[in-house]
Structure formats: C-alpha cells, structure tokens
C-alpha cells in the first residue's frame, strides 16, 4: 500500500498550489491555484497529468480548497468550467463566501485593465461556486463510504483550513498555508494529535525565525505616522481580504488612540464589501474579536472611507489600501506609478511577494528605477517599508507542528528551493522524520498504514488492559545525592507493564480472531496437553544430621529446613529473578522445586555422586518457556553445598 503524491504546483516554489494525493484508491486534489508571476500556460497546474483523457470526474474523488488566496483557488473556475470537472469540491464557509470576490477581482484586473483574453467568465465563477460544498471546522465529512475529510483552523486568513483526509487506515494532513501565532483578527492554527502517514506542509519561511509581532507592529505604525505627519501619502498594496482587515484594525485602533485625522482609504468598494462578510463570519476570527461581537463588531471601522480615483493626486497626506497586493497590476500599480517618484511618500509591502511582481523587485534590493515594460520606466524615490506581516508560520512553527503531529513522512511545498532543502535536513535530523521536497510535476510515493482487522474476545481485551504492576528494587544509586533527592527517589519502583499477549487464529473463510490463551482449547474443542520437564536434582549436604525415612512427621520439618536453606542460597545466586518461598515448594516463574523423599524417583536420571548420607534430592518441574532459567538453577543447585550454613 502506498500513498502517491503528485505535486502539480508549489513544488520548490510559491504559487499555483496543487497537490494530487492517491490513497487506497481515492484521489484527492488539494488546492487548485494559479501562479501570479506567469501569464502563459505556466500559470495553471498541468492538469493533463491527472488524466490524459480529460475525464477528471473519474480521475478525482474530490477537490479540497484550503483558503481563498488566488495561488490556492485561482485555477478552480478554469478547472471546473473549462476543463469540465464536475465532482465534489469542499471548502470552508468563509472561503466559499470570499473566494468569488477574489476570483472576480482577478478576472476584472486581467480582462478590463490588462486587456487579456479571459480565462474564465463571471458566469464561470458563479457556476463553479455552485458546485462547492461548504464545511465547518472539525466537521467530519464523509465524502464517500471510505473517504473522510475534516478541516482544522489554520489561522492564515479568514476561513483558512488544514485538511485531514483518511481512507481506510491511512491518514494524511495537508496544511495549506497556516500561522502558528495569533494575530489581531485571527487565531493560531489548531489541530488534534492524529495518527498520520504523511503531512504536506507549506514552507514559505523555511529558515526564518521571526521576532515578536509587537515590535513589527510598532515599527509599521511609526513609519506610517512619520510619513503622514510630514504630509506624505502611504500606499499599502494588499489583497482585499486578510491583510487589509488585519492592518486596518491596527491602524483604526492607532488613529483612535493618537487622535489622528488623516484619512484612511480603501480602494474600490471591494474591501468595504468584504468587511460585510467578515462581520457575519466573526466566529472564524480570533477569540478576542469574537467575544466583542455583540457590543461592537471589530470590522465596523470608524476612520475608514472609500477612495475615489480623483483623490490620487489630491494634496495632503492619506493612507490608501489598494488592491491587488504585491503591486502585480491593477489599481495598486496605477497609484504606485503616480506616488513612487516622490520622496515624501511611503510604500508599505505587507508580507510575501511572488517572484515576477513589482513588489518582489522592491523587496529584493533598493531599485531606483523599475522597468514596467519596454516603454515605461518608473522612478522610485519613495520610501519602501517592508513589513514582515505575512500570516505564514515561521520555521519554528513548522518544526513545532511537525513535532506535535509526528507523522511518518513529510512533504514540503510552497517555499523556495534552497531554504526548503535546509528545512528538510533539519526535519530529518532533528525529528527523525522522512522528508521530501519534490519539484513541480514530481511524484512522491510513501508507504501507508494498514491494519489487520481481527475480532477480539473480551478476555483478551480485559487481560491486556488489566494493570500489571512490577515492583523493581533499585539499589540506591549516587550516595552523594542530597537528602532531598534520596527522599524523592525511592528504592522501590512500581511500574505498570501492560503487555497484551494472546493468540491469533486464522481460519479459512473466517475473520481472524484474537483470544486469550486460556480460551484456545475450548475454542478448538481440544484438551490442553501440557508438556513439562522434570529433573530430580541432588544437592550436597554434609554435616546435617539425617533423620530416618520412617519418621514422616519429622521428615516434613526437615524438608522445610532444607527448602529454606536452598531458598537462602538461591536468593543469593539469582540476581534478576524473584524466587518465592511457598513453604511446601519454591517457585521461580513456572519452575517448582520440592524436596524429593522418594527413594526411587523416576526423574532421578543422574546417579548420585556423593555418599547417600551427604545428598538430598530436590524434584524440579518447569514448562518449556523457562527452559534456560530452569537449567541455570539446576546447575547452581548441583554445585551448592548446603552444609556451609
């Protein structure tokens, strides 16, 4: 049994997340994203690798989208409406509500502004979303008889989810993008401890360990405040959903505290409209925001108003949230062209910028000129503020999550190749987990868990679950330990060593059955036939006065004395085993030792070597299990001399 992972996107790169996982005959597509950095065929995952014939309905069991970012959902309308996938699609309620806004915004930017040929229409988006089944967090969805999926809170954006999928005994988690630390409007990722074969995790910040969020927030507010105080304009290119709300809560709060009157604008109606959704979906935000919903919804911003195009060159300071993020085109680019040449202005880039975007170029170095195309060049004189506000987990978070989940294998996606390789090494060396970082269109195969199913008897379960206390004597170790330590470490240790022991029975055409060994004979309709060993062992006794055999009552007493003597000797010799003196006999595990008073014991195979008066016989019986132990004891007994006491 193997789990097969075909990485169609986000393999050793960020963009067009799409992984197709086959488990026990089910095939699940996780995310269906597009690449923001490409305009040609590379922008979409290569769907032909899923099915040559294009019969995607039969090739896939379902699609699960983790969140509404375009690099996770951008190709979905194309895949359903143009490629013709009609099977089930799952995403959380917020993702289903907000994804159409993202898709429509992207489509508009592509078609209306860039004049590109459209990949999908508005109608396509509507039709696509109709096929989507919305799920709640932790809701266990039975996709079909064998496939079970569940969403966990991922914290990255509103409605972001980590997905657990289980087919038969094999289970995996696909994290999507996640954040292990809470921010102003979202909580931290949360997941149960699960038995997993595989975790497919993002690794955007594979090597970064971030400092406290508080310092970063303060730095951001200071930069913005300084800029507007000196009359500059602040451009914050963001996507309409997510960072916009997060930063807006931050700014709105700061404006209130500092009593600032500088206007904060949202470009277009998109973000305002988005806030409406945020208000209804407040249950998906952080606990703090959630708790205050009845008195004041955190997404009712006081200092925020709509931006009008005519305000671009209006005098005076302002703060503008403009879409799309990363300055990949559209309105944010339009404003950037106007504002970039002035030193008083500030461009704040919150979070990650995909390679190929202007945002990426601004962040990697300090360019003074940016070539937009052959004819257009922009002078960049404004200040650039990089804001590490990206709601992705850092390296520590990834390691923490993997350590918590302890899967058998890890696949890294959604990161940069060299950094991923470093993280992969860490995961293998520090956590001892097999790790892979496949490139796009690579397939990784890992073995999957499979359990043998058997019926089990109550006796077996009971015996396995009943406590099995072991009392271990420990010699007092370091004598130089203080008195406080000696009181804490008792010489007697009690441990509960539960061992499940039973018998597995396989009968043709029947379910395997596990029983307790005592149940076996009855089950098979047979009687137990016990095979035992016996040995009558002579032990030398010299200066003890022997009584005559005829005096039975006194001989019993004498045999007790001998048994006690033997017990004392053996206890000295045997260090590991516990030997019990039961009066009539001694017992070590299954071995019984009694005094043999018979003159002609059948088990007396050894001829006595000393004088009769100097030897007494001990009859030993044991079962096969203690063969070694028994012979060890016998050899000790043979060399003993009980007279030396």
């Amino acid at each position: 049994m193997v789990i097969e992972c075909l990485v169609l996107g986000a393999g050793q790169e960020v963009g067009k997340s799409c992984v197709v996982v086959s488990i026990n005959g089910k095939r699940i597509m996780f995310d269906c994203g597009m690449h923001m950095g490409y305009l040609d065929h590379r922008r979409y995952p290569d769907f032909s690798l899923i099915s040559k014939s294009g019969d995607f309905d039969n090739a896939l069991s379902c699609i699960i989208i983790t969140h509404f970012h375009l690099d996770h959902i951008g190709a979905l309308p194309y895949f359903t409406e143009v490629c013709g996938y009609n099977g089930p699609i799952y995403m959380t309620y917020p993702t289903k509500a907000l994804a159409p806004l993202m898709l429509e915004d992207y489509r508009r930017v592509m078609v209306d502004r860039r004049g590109e040929e459209e990949q999908f229409t508005s109608e396509n988006i509507v039709q696509c979303m109709k096929k989507v089944t919305a799920v709640d967090l932790k809701q266990t969805v039975q996709v079909d008889k064998d496939l079970q999926i569940r969403a966990y809170y991922a914290g990255h954006v509103l409605g972001a989810a980590m997905i657990y999928a289980k087919v038969g005994d094999a289970a995996i988690v696909y994290t999507g993008d996640y954040n292990m630390t809470p921010d102003r409007h979202l909580g931290a990722a949360q997941i149960d401890r699960l038995r997993l074969d595989l975790v497919i995790t993002e690794s955007t910040y594979a090597t970064t360990v971030r400092d406290s969020k508080y310092a970063r927030e303060r730095e951001f507010l200071k930069a913005v405040h300084k800029c507007v105080a000196s009359g500059g304009k602040v451009l914050i290119p963001t996507f309409a959903l997510g960072r916009a709300q997060e930063l807006c809560i931050l700014l709105d709060d700061y404006w209130e505290r500092m009593d600032l009157k500088v206007p904060i604008y949202f470009s277009a109606g998109l973000t305002i409209q988005a806030n409406m959704y945020y208000k209804m979906l407040i249950n998906w935000t952080s606990q703090k925001v959630k708790d205050t919903y009845a008195t004041r919804n955190a997404f009712d911003f006081k200092n925020v108003s709509n931006f009008d195009r005519s305000l671009i060159n209006a005098p005076g300071p302002c703060v503008l949230f403009a879409t799309p993020g990363m300055i990949s085109g559209g309105f944010s680019l339009e404003v950037f062209k106007q504002w970039a040449p002035y030193e008083a202005n500030l461009v704040t880039l919150p979070g990650y910028c995909v390679a190929g975007t202007i945002g990426h170029r601004l962040m990697s170095g300090k360019p003074t000129k940016i070539d937009l195309d052959e004819n257009t060049q922009i002078d960049v004189r404004c200040q650039i503020h990089q804001l590490s506000f990206s709601p992705h987990t850092d390296a520590k978070g990834i390691m923490d999550l993997l350590k918590f989940l302890s899967p058998k294998h890890v696949i890294l996606v959604h990161g940069e190749k060299p950094k991923m390789a470093l993280l992969k090494g860490r995961i293998q060396s520090e956590l001892g987990i097999q790790c892979h970082d496949p490139a796009n269109n690579d397939t990784v195969c890992i073995p999957s868990t499979h359990y043998i199913k058997a019926d089990t008897s109550n006796a077996f379960v009971r015996s396995s679950l009943s406590p099995n206390f072991k009392f271990l004597k420990r010699s007092i170790g370091n004598s130089d330990l203080g008195p406080a330590d000696t009181s804490a470490t008792s010489t007697l240790q009690v441990c509960d060593e539960r061992v499940a022991e039973g018998i597995l029975i396989m009968e043709r055409n029947q379910m395997a059955k596990v029983v307790h060994e005592d149940e076996l004979p009855e089950l098979l309709g047979e009687k137990t036939h016990v095979v035992q060993f016996a040995h009558c062992c002579p032990v030398t006794i010299n200066n003890l006065e022997r009584t005559t055999n005829s005096d039975l009552s006194s001989s019993k007493d004498v045999s007790c004395v001998w048994l006690h003597l033997l017990f004392a000797k053996l206890s000295n010799e045997l260090t590991e085993e516990t030997i019990q003196d039961c009066g009539e006999h001694l017992q070590v595990e299954s071995m019984y030792i009694t005094v043999c008073l018979k003159d002609n014991c059948p088990y007396r195979t050894t001829d006595c070597f000393g004088g009769k008066s100097a030897t007494t016989y001990f009859c030993c019986t044991w079962s096969v299990a203690d063969e070694k132990l028994a012979w060890k004891i016998i050899s000790i007994m043979k060399n003993l001399d009980l007279s030396n006491t």
Binding site: R150, G502, L504
Partner: protein, 711 residues
C-alpha cells in the same frame, strides 16, 4: 445496554429526558425544565400603564403604582373569585423528578440536544461530586445560555417583590398551603401520586449559569469527539431549531443513533441530517411531538392526517427502496409559512384597528421569521408601526443570530454568499423600525414608546417577564392581539388577566416529525433495533416481515437491550503481524500464532501496536522473552518412538498400570545415548533428562511428532 426514559416531556419547550448505560458509561440525554408548570404561580400584577406612562406626568397613576404592592391580595382575588387562588410566592421550577432519584455523581456523560434541553443543567453542575462531561453544539449552548440568563433576570422581579425567603423550604409547598389549592393546580404541583412534589426547585443563580456554561464542551455539527477513548460522540442537525441535534454514540460493540424531535425541511435552521444516521444498529426514537399532536383534540386546522391515513401509506412502501423525496417534500414547510403569513396578517389587522400586538413566543426561529414577515407587510402597506423586542438578552441574541451561517438552512446560507445579512432584523434595526430593550422600564423605551406597536417578549408561560405588564395593559383592549402557542394551557395561563377583551390567536408550530414520515425514515435508516415509545406504538402498523425489531419503552422503566456483537474489533499493526510465527494446525485449516504487543484503546477502537518496551527491557528481560507453550491433542506413543529412533535415540515403551482400553499412561524409557524418561498421560507429558541439551532434543522430537499441535 440499558435505557431508562426519565420523562417523555411535553411539547417543544420540555423535551424528553433519558438515561442510557452504554459500554459501562452512564449517559444522560438532555436535562430540561417543565416551565409550563409556572402557571400555578400568580404573576406580579402591577399597573403597567403607570410604568409606561410615567413620563406623561400623571400623578394619579404613580400613586396607584405605589399602592399596588400592599393591596395585591385583594386585587388578585377579584378576577379569581370562581377559581382557587394561584400560589403567591416566589416561583419554583419543576425539574425532571425521576432524574432526582439517580445518583448524579455516577453520570459520565451529558448530551444536550437542544437549548431547551439544557435549562435544568445548572441544577446538576452545581451539585457536589457531579463530574460528567457535558457536550452540546456550539449554537445550542449559546442559545441555552441566553435562555437561562433571561430566566434568571425575569425571576429577579419576583425576588425583589417577595423579598428573601425565610427558609430554604418554600412556604407554599407546605401541606396546609397545598391543601387549599384547586384540583387543577394541585395536579400540576403533585402529579398523579404526589411524586412530582420532589421535582420543584428554587431557581439557580446567574453564577450557577455561568459555571454551568463553562463546563459545557461545545461541538460543531458532525464534529467527532471521543469520551474516555471508548465512545465516539457526534451531533447531527435535527432541524427543529438553530443548533438542535441528534446524537450518535459509537462504542466498540454498539452504535446508537438518538433520534430527537426532528424537522426535515426548515426555513431557518439547518435541515434534519438524516443521512448521517444511516448505518446505526440501534435507533432510540424519542420524537414525542406526535403525542402532543394526537392528544390535542381541539386542533383540527393544522394536523389533519390521522393514524389510519398512515397505515395506508406504509403498505405501499414495502420495497426497500424508500422514496427519499417523500421525506423531503416541502408540504410541512409550506404549512409553516402559511401559518406565519396568517399570524402576520392578523397582526396587521390589529394595528390597523389601532390595537397593539403582543407575541410572547419563545422560539427564536419563529420570532426571527415573524419579524421579517410582519415588517414586509408593514412596508408594503406603508404603515409606520414600531416593533419592539423586550428581553434582557435581545441585543445579544439578535447579534448572535447574524453570525451563525454554519447553523442555518441553505437559503439563509445563500444570503451569506451574496453578502446580505442572514436575517432581516439587521436592516430593521438600522432603519429604526425595530427596537431592542432589555426591559419594559428602561428609560430609552419610555422615550420612544408609541402605540399601537408590535412587541415580542418573554415569557411564553405568561407568568414571567415583560409579557405580564403588557398583557395587563392591553387585556382590556378589544383591538389588541395576543399571539400565543398551543400547548400552553391557555385557560389557566390567562386566568389572572381575566376578563379579557383582547383577541387571542393560538397557533401551533411544527415541533417534530410528521406521522407519515416516521416509517419511511426508519426504513431508510435500516437499523436492527428501534427503541420506540410505548405510547406511540399503537399509532403505527409496522409489518411483521420488517427486518427491524421494535422494542417498546415507557416512562421510568429500565429496558435492557441485548448485545448485538459479542466481540469487539482489533486493529493489528502490520509490522507486528508480519513478525508472527505461524503454526499450522492439522485440523480444519487453522493457523495460529502468538501475538504480543501493546494494546491501545483510542477512538473507540482497539489497536495493537508493537510494544516499545519503555526502556525497561533489561530489568524485565527474562519474563518478556518468555514464550509460553501449550500442547493439546493426544500423543501417539508409537510414532514418538519411531521419531526418536530416527533421531538415533533408542527408546522402549512401558504400558502404565491402568487398563488398556481407556487412554492410559505410558512411560518411554531412553537409555541410549543418554538416560531419559518421558511420561505421557491424557493431559500431559513430562520429559526428564539428565542435561539441558538432551531434554531439548527430546522435546523437539515430541514437537515434530505430528500428533501434537503446539504453540
């Protein structure tokens, strides 16, 4: 498994209450209060005009108000002349009396299936020694919390009015006091045999409620949770109200679906998720709503289908292939919509005639829909009549109703996707058509109060809350309208307010499954056993050929249900299974192997994994490598001698002293190459040899001797 039905309940507000014993765990299903019993208490009657007209400087009314307290007895007795007195005391609350007979501390799990089902919970959670884990859906827990908080707030008025109790034992429960009650009231207090008296409790405090809510573990619909590794619990929507659910319990040997009052198609709450209940061996049917419908003989408008109607349909659907469309037909939903439309038009008629409308209905869904309906009627007629919701939790409740798309029906979820508010009240409040107030005497209310108006307020028992004041104010106005639910004993409830000139509209809303749908549903679910209320059983004609066996249960009787599965299932890790040493038995193609590992009980499954030794290996050492062997069958002595001979061992057989016909003892003596002795009888074999190697050698010979299977 054992089932005890503690109470069959009564209608929507008082759901049934059961105790289950599953896999050794005691599971309590719901913990409701019978709030209809509040009618035995007298409401606090004051002149509500005085409160609402305070700002119209009318000194006469104010003086009346101050008088009212002293003269309450006389004032009350006047309209009650021909009946007996109500109980004039701080009310007590009627819990499920049979629950009090159980040892509360022995309960392991409490499952809440509706907000109404948790109103009695603070009585349990505040008890010393109560340690059960309580599960409820997120929405039900929140709505239940609002209801309890509102109850405590409304009750405050009584506490202020009557002052603190002198003793912990309420005066009115003294025998002398009970004697003078009318028989109708006495019935309610004591029950048939006086046993009900023990169920009355003074109300819990706000702190008790808070404490109770903190102990509730909330779940989403279809979220899996596991109790003690053994029971997997899941809640699936039942469609009755926002957040209500049907619980499923999966244990290692049994799986149970607890079917509470369910509505297939709702126009606000998420629909009844009956597909999720498929594949459960046992269904506990506890939708008693039909009982209320059948007992309600006056009711002729809404519930026409009778039992004989149903038996006809049941005969048609003999085929296994159940028509699920019949389950989902929207007739009942249409009926409900018509009812709401009718109530709305009656309300409009009243306000047109200058009267006010009072709607003391406790169902959130109905209130939210009526708000939408009435407001759109008002809009279309261009009537400027204000609507009020008066409740201490109104603001929170309405805010909450707009942030729970996950708990609502498809049509409401569509509103989320199109970016509209889930319920119309959001806009109504913005447009100042709807006003929310915590109580009738709040300052802001007095400022904008205007009649006629439409008021939604609590409590439906007509004994607590703002409804008492407003009813008193409007009961003499023939243009005003009171909308109340059926199921409340209207005669008794309205008695303190008589004579009534006010119009009364009594209506019943769908509170569970319809008769026609029960059988198709059970056929579709295909359980092996259905636990069915004895009281409902006679209304059904299940064919005797049905593969489902019905077991009837009745109130306060413990029912023992035989186990279906003898064995539980075990999952064995493949790396453990691959290391097994198999022994093939000569009989019946059986292979056996010794199995050893570590047993885990998680998620209601037994899992056997290779033991990891925990680092104590060396200490335990010897006993861990121990391999117990066991043999059976009888040993064929001759073949043993042959086998020994083949191994170069000379052996001779001595017959034992017993007679030869029965199985007897043998002794096999070995002299060459070494001395050894093998004693064989019916139950065992003893090998005696001089040294270890030779003993092992003989043992091997015996094992190889095919007459004996061993492990």
């Amino acid at each position: 498994m054992k089932l005890t039905c503690l109470s069959k309940g009564q209608g929507f507000y008082f759901p049934p209450c059961h105790i289950l014993n599953v896999c050794g765990f005691l599971v309590l299903l719901d913990c409701p209060l019978d709030l209809s019993a509040l009618t035995i208490f007298s409401p606090i009657l004051t002149d509500s005009k005085a409160i609402l007209d305070e700002d119209s400087d009318c000194p006469a009314h104010i003086s009346l108000d101050s008088e009212s307290r002293g003269s309450k007895r006389q004032k009350l007795e006047k309209p009650l002349d021909d009946t007996k007195n109500f109980v004039h005391s701080e009310p007590c609350y009627k819990t499920v009396k049979n629950l009090n007979l159980w040892d509360i501390t022995s309960i392991n799990v409490v499952l809440i299936s509706s907000p109404m089902g948790m109103l009695g919970l603070p009585f349990l959670t505040r008890m010393k020694g109560f340690s059960a884990k309580i599960y409820a859906t997120e929405a039900a827990a929140r709505l239940g919390q609002f209801m309890m908080e509102d109850l405590v707030m409304m009750h405050m008025e009584f506490r202020q009015f009557y002052g603190p109790e002198e003793s912990s034992f309420p005066q009115w429960m003294k025998w002398e006091e009970l004697e003078v009650l009318s028989s109708a009231l006495k019935d309610r207090v004591l029950g048939d045999d006086g046993s009900e008296l023990g169920g009355w409790m003074p109300l819990y405090s706000a702190a008790d409620v808070k404490d109770c809510i903190q102990k509730v573990q909330v779940l989403k619909y279809a979220e899996e949770t596991c109790y003690s590794g053994t029971l997997i619990l899941k809640a699936f929507s039942s469609g009755l109200e926002i957040g209500t659910c049907n619980w499923t319990i999966n244990g290692p040997k049994r799986n149970i679906a607890c079917l509470s009052s369910s509505i297939f198609v709702s126009s606000y709450a998420m629909n009844f998720d009956y597909h999720a209940l498929q594949g459960y061996d046992l269904v506990l049917y506890s939708d008693f709503s039909l009982l209320d419908v059948m007992e309600d003989t006056d009711n002729d408008n809404y519930f026409a289908p009778a039992a004989n109607n149903f038996s006809a349909t049941s005969d048609d659907s003999n085929t296994q292939d159940v028509n699920t469309e019949s389950l989902l037909n929207t007739d009942e939903n249409l009926e409900e919509t018509e009812k709401l439309a009718f109530i709305s038009s009656c309300a409009i008629d009243s306000v047109k005639a200058g009267g006010s409308v009072l709607i003391p209905i406790g169902r959130l869904g109905i209130v939210l829909q009526l708000l939408e309906n009435i407001s759109s009627y008002l809009e279309s007629l261009n009537l400027k009549v204000p609507m009020f919701i008066i409740s201490s939790v109104a603001e929170e409740l309405l805010a909450f109703s707009n942030i729970i798309p996950e708990w609502l029906c498809k049509q409401r979820q569509e509103k989320l996707y199109s970016g509209e508010p889930l319920f119309a009240h959001v806009d109504l409040i913005k447009e100042k058509k709807l006003h929310l107030f915590p109580a009738v005497d709040s300052d802001k209310l007095l400022r904008i109060w205007q009649e006629p108006c439409i008021v939604f307020c609590s409590h439906w028992s007509l004994r607590l809350g703002s409804v008492v004041h407003l009813l008193q104010r409007w009961c003499g106005d023939q243009n005003s309208l009171l909308v109340m639910e059926k199921g409340v004993d209207a005669d008794l409830a309205l008695l303190p307010f008589k004579p009534m000139a006010m119009k009364i509209l009594q209506c019943s809303f769908l509170s569970g499954m319809k008769l026609q749908k029960v059988q198709p549903l059970l056929k579709m679910l295909q359980p092996k056993i259905v636990l069915f209320p004895e009281k409902l059983r006679r209304h059904f004609s299940f064919s005797s050929t049905s593969p489902i066996s019905f077991i009837e249960y009745s109130e306060n009787e413990t029912l023992r249900i035989p186990s279906l599965k003898l064995n539980s299932e075990l999952d064995i890790a493949i790396d453990l299974a691959s290391q097994l040493k198999w022994t093939k038995l000569k009989q019946e193609n059986i292979n056996i192997a010794r199995l050893k590992g570590e047993l885990f009980v998680e998620h209601s499954k037994h899992l056997l994994l290779p033991g990891n030794g925990n680092g104590n290996e060396q200490v335990v050492g010897f006993s861990q490598s121990r391999l117990l062997l066991q043999h059976w069958g009888s040993l064929d002595v001759q073949s043993l001698v042959t086998a020994l001979h083949n191994m170069g061992i000379n052996a001779s057989v001595e017959q034992g002293k017993h007679d030869a016909t029965t199985q007897s003892d043998f002794t096999v003596c070995v002299l060459e190459p070494k001395k050894a002795l093998i004693k064989i009888n019916a139950t065992g074999t003893v090998i005696s040899a001089a040294d270890e190697k030779f003993a092992a050698f003989i043992f091997e010979a015996i094992c190889n001797c095919f007459c004996l299977d061993g492990i």
